[in-house]
């Protein structure tokens, strides 16, 4: 995918360089077509390809924890304690390990990824211009839809009597999965210095 994008970019640069050095070549019909390809069609495809690549890259766990403020959140995925919800999901591959952050922190609506990117820009502003809050809070709180996206319809989730009793409240987000006393230990980064860590392969 990236290799194809690089080929497109290189081809586009070669064509644009020709028109930069000798724009008079566009007098011929064949060159007019090449000019359209090199100065309009290919660059447009490069924008689309680049955007797609960057969007996919930003879904990677490594990408998220490359920000200094996110490092402890990345470490919390390795806590050796099943009550730590993100760690439990990450270590047991209930979410794809290389997209662990995105799996639970993406808005799954149609414009979700775009909305998340816009929100991400405010995080970048905090990182480089102001300072990120400690601890980092999700605007509007954690939405149950992030959990229900995977768990809704799963037998073990729906047959659980507690879940079944409060299902409507969970779906309407009136009762939070995380802050209603049920699954209340998430990243808990304030306690990271007091916990044991799991080391993969040991």
């Amino acid at each position: 995918m990236i290799a194809m994008l690089v080929v497109q970019i290189v081809l586009s640069i070669i064509l644009a360089s020709i028109f930069l050095i000798r724009p008079s070549v566009t007098a011929g019909t064949g060159w007019k077509i090449l000019a359209f390809i090199g100065l309009c069609a290919l660059p447009f495809l490069c924008i689309v390809g680049g955007m797609n690549t960057h969007m996919q890259r930003s879904e990677q766990t490594q990408f998220c924890i490359s920000c200094h403020a996110m490092v402890p959140y990345g470490q919390s995925l390795y806590v050796d304690d099943p009550s730590y919800l993100p760690a439990q999901h990450f270590q047991n591959h209930r979410v794809p390990a290389d997209e662990a952050c995105y799996a639970c922190h993406a808005d799954y609506s149609i414009y979700g990824p775009l909305k998340d990117k816009m929100r991400g820009l405010t995080r970048i502003y905090m990182q480089y211009v102001s300072s990120p809050p400690n601890p980092i809070r999700i605007p509007g709180g954690y939405q149950n839809s992030q959990c229900l996206h995977c768990h809704l319809g799963a037998r073990s989730f729906e047959e659980n009597q507690i879940h079944a009793a409060v299902m409507d409240s969970l779906k309407s987000n009136q009762m939070s999965c995380l802050t209603s006393g049920c699954h209340d230990t998430a990243h808990n980064i304030a306690q990271l210095s007091h916990v044991k860590f799991w080391r993969p392969g040991q």
């Binding site: 640069i13 644009a16 028109f19 924008i47 680049g50 955007m51 820009l121 970048i124």
Partner: protein
């Protein structure tokens, strides 16, 4: 060479320069694995490439208006 042709060539040069710069920025952003690389691509790369495409399209309009003018004068 007529003045309008010089203008057209200048537009093509400007368009090419913008596109090359934008694509170089895109390559740098792809090689740089950092949250800022997305910002670099989205705000600088896309703007430069988009501007290049826009200038090229303006040059096409320039050609179209020129050929209409010469058709009317005959």
């Amino acid at each position: 060479m007529r003045l309008s042709e010089v203008g057209m060539e200048r537009l093509l040069r400007i368009s090419s320069a913008f596109i090359i710069l934008g694509l170089v920025v895109e390559i740098i952003s792809l090689l740089w694995y950092h949250p800022l690389s997305f910002v670099l691509f989205a705000f600088i790369g896309i703007s430069l490439i988009g501007l290049g495409i826009l200038v090229y399209l303006v040059s096409l309009a320039f050609v179209a208006s020129r050929s209409t003018d010469s058709h009317n004068s005959t």
